[in-house]
Amino acid sequence: MGENGESMAKGRAESRSGPGGVLALEVEGRLVPMFFQFLGKGFVVRTDRELTLRSFLKESLGMQDDYIEGRIQTLLLDGRPVDDVDRARVRRGATLALSAAMPGLLGAVLRKAGYYRKMRDSISHRETEEKDASAGGDVLVKLFNLVAREKGPALLERGVWIPRSDAAEFFSAQPQMFWEACRRILWNGAPADREDLIRLPGKGGGLILKVTGA
């Protein structure tokens, strides 16, 4: 993540840690991919202004141009496939999903600016002319497949804001071998255990999840 991205992530953590709390896990490296499902369900990124999609990816997620052009093949803004990352704008309340290349005719059809994009014309993203540079706020980001695998470890290490209910459901479903591979659990800086994490849903809201593989 670049400098801007790091400061943004830090800002998110500070703004959310009060009412939500910070859950920090140190786990065996092989467990880290299990947490990618949180990235697929979506995590909140706070921006301080409206950005083009390319700027959002660079500033808020720390992605480079070659990654945006080469690796990310499908971008869905509020469920609509995007063809032009320099024209599409990310606004407060938006949901953004990112995917690497996919198989199937749909994989080709949903690609940004792909040859077969006409086939999904009825749902393609169309940018309006309205711009509001001051309209920052929360954006829900979903990372799928290879994008989650590649960007996930660094994002999780810095912390992502997720709903507590998702976290509680996840931890409730984990077998003993999972807990044996958790080396350290800290809740707002204090040691915590399995029971603490399973009780999370009663508190509602969200939390900052940090996962470090060792």
Partner: protein, 578 residues
């Protein structure tokens, strides 16, 4: 592959096998072979389960060679599900073994005089046909176990389960994989019912002592194969995405795009999608000691399959495909991978098309036979099919029959065949293919083959208003050619993105045939297949009215984008005007 094996199952004194030279079928393979024989020899108005129908089994043109990815086998006939021509193809070992035995096709003809069930054994020494009543009503897994006891574990099998024996329209033909499990199915259109109507339970193929098929120009063929494999490995879809997650990698993204048919095509998003996604599936498989990356036949370099173990770490089924996870999962409101995997196993064992069965259960849920999301009820409905109860017989004949019996309007079929896992309202171009393909609703009929690089249909502006129809037409032509080759459709991405890999594929053909093979030749092959199929369907009584989506797709808006299918009928009627 210089001969055709014809077996008259209704011959005087019992089944009789005859070998013939290729004659007019010289140079054909896969779908080109099955559709040529069916269109030439099967009376279009015959009953699909009668003596006049023929079941044609054909390896692809390149099958049995060292060309990577060339292990697809085609099974063709007049379909009991659609009433038109049918080609269903599958992976597994059968194509390579049958091709090395020298057969360009095996044709099952006639109708047995009684209900005796037969086993056909083919090896280098010829053909043996024997009674196999001990296999009656066995599932595909038990059938293959019996064959292992008799012939060892180095043979390949094509078999039917109870669904095929009961001549259900959703019945498949199973092909064994590298581990000799019956996990690869020629699933669509009821080809298993036609095999059942011929009284054939299993075809056992043994290529012991046989060699790889040799190309006419070995140097060109070898160099092209090397280039082709390198192209597959460097492509992000065939070299990374598919091996890592399999086809189910599509779930999350199509769901996010609002094109994931949910609750029997009522909405385009499913809340439980992430629980059954390819990413979750791969993690689950790995954690349980299964495999998230595995090939379905020798010579596969993409390896998009896997092994799905149960919670105790025991083998349950192969990695369910995206379409299976959707049909038994989101389409029925079910978000439990273990339940979906169990239904995949049951489908494979009973010998059922997973798309048709999942869609049928969705219609049954719409009818009130079970609640959406009730996995246990869905599993029990599949078991009804396996047992052949009256309800099971209805379900086993597919979504259209089930909808009619229970008075359901929302039945997602074209030509009687269930739609796959992509809502045509969100992706209208796929709706054009669903409506017009000769096969009935079929996502693989117009796959993402490199029609642009091939120049199929000339230079098309994909963004002009008529683009939907032209793109669908060109994809259907290109796909028909791939289906004739024996190549897996998943090579599409490497040849779509990389002109040099497409050229390598042409050079593989050229090296094998000993002459130049161009994109124009490829296009001509695809067109000739489609022309034969269209002519057969017309003679069988199918008309333009059959080239339509169900009416509700034009009237019911699909959330979340609230879109209806808007391609006019007049444009659909132009797809095959070339």
């Amino acid at each position: 592959m210089d001969k055709i094996l014809r077996i008259d199952m209704g011959a005087e004194g019992g089944p009789k096998a005859v070998e013939e030279p290729l004659g007019a079928y010289e140079g054909l393979g896969g779908r080109a072979m099955t559709s040529a024989i069916v269109s030439n020899e099967v009376p279009p108005l015959c009953h699909p389960l009668g003596a006049d129908n023929k079941l044609v089994i054909a390896p692809g043109i390149l099958s049995g060679t060292t060309a990577a990815m060339s292990g697809r086998i085609s099974v063709g006939c007049k379909s009991p599900l659609t009433g038109g021509i049918k080609e269903a193809n599958a992976g597994g070992q059968a194509a390579q073994v049958l091709a090395r035995l020298g057969y360009a096709a095996v044709v099952l003809e006639g109708k047995p005089r009684d209900d005796t069930l037969y086993k056909i054994f083919i090896d280098a020494g010829g053909v043996k046909i024997s009674e196999a009543n001990d296999l009656k009503m066995l599932g595909n897994y038990d059938t293959v176990e019996k064959i292992k006891e008799q012939h060892g574990e180095k043979v390949a099998c094509l078999s039917i389960g109870p669904a095929g024996e009961m001549k259900m329209s959703a019945a498949s033909v199973a092909c064994t994989d590298m581990e000799m499990r019956p996990t690869r199915h020629a699933g669509r259109g009821g080809v298993g019912a036609v095999m059942g109507s011929k009284g054939v339970k299993v075809i056992v193929l043994d290529d012991s002592g046989m060699k790889m098929r040799q190309p006419k120009d070995p140097e060109k063929f070898k160099a092209a194969t090397k280039e082709f494999v390198e192209g597959l490995r460097k492509n992000p879809t065939t070299g990374e995405g598919l091996p890592a997650y399999g086809t189910n990698v599509l779930t999350n993204v199509i769901n996010e795009a609002g094109g994931y048919p949910t609750f029997n095509f009522r909405t385009g998003r499913f809340d439980g999608a992430s629980k059954i996604s390819g990413e979750t599936q791969a993690e689950t498989e790995t954690a349980r000691g299964g495999l998230a990356t595995h090939g379905c036949h020798r010579g596969c370099v993409i390896r998009c399959s896997g092994i799905f173990n149960d919670k105790d770490g025991n083998y349950l089924t192969k990695q369910p495909e995206y379409e299976t996870v959707w049909s038994h999962g989101g389409n029925c409101g079910i978000d439990d991978l273990d339940s979906i995997a169990l239904m995949d196993r049951l489908d494979d064992d009973f010998g059922l098309d997973t798309i048709e069965m999942g869609a049928t259960i969705g219609v049954a849920m719409e009818a009130g036979l079970a609640k959406f999301g009730d996995a246990e009820a869905a599993i029990n409905l599949v078991k009804e099919v396996g047992k052949g109860t009256p309800l099971g017989r209805i379900l086993g004949n597919g979504a259209a029959v089930t909808g009619k019996v229970f008075g359901v309007e929302r039945v997602p079929v074209v030509k009687g065949q269930s739609m796959p896992a992509y809502d045509p309202r969100a992706v209208q171009g796929i709706g054009v293919t669903y409506a017009t393909t000769t096969m009935g609703a079929d996502h693989t009929a117009g796959y993402a083959v490199a029609s642009n690089i091939m120049g199929v249909g000339g230079s098309v502006d994909p963004l002009k208003p008529q683009g939907q129809v032209e793109l669908s037409r060109n994809l259907q032509i290109a796909t028909a050619a791939i289906d004739a080759s024996g190549m897996c459709l998943f090579i599409a991405f490497a040849i779509l993105d990389q002109p040099e890999t497409f050229q390598a594929l042409m050079d593989i053909f050229g090296g094998f045939l000993g002459k130049d093979f161009t994109a124009d030749d490829f296009t001509a092959l695809g067109k000739s297949v489609l022309e034969k199929e269209r002519a057969f369907n017309k003679a069988a009584g199918l008309t333009a009215a059959d080239d339509r989506l169900p009416d509700y797709f034009k009237k019911e808006a699909l959330p979340p984008h609230n879109v209806t299918f808007q391609v006019p009928d007049e444009e659909l009627d132009q797809v095959f005007n070339w």
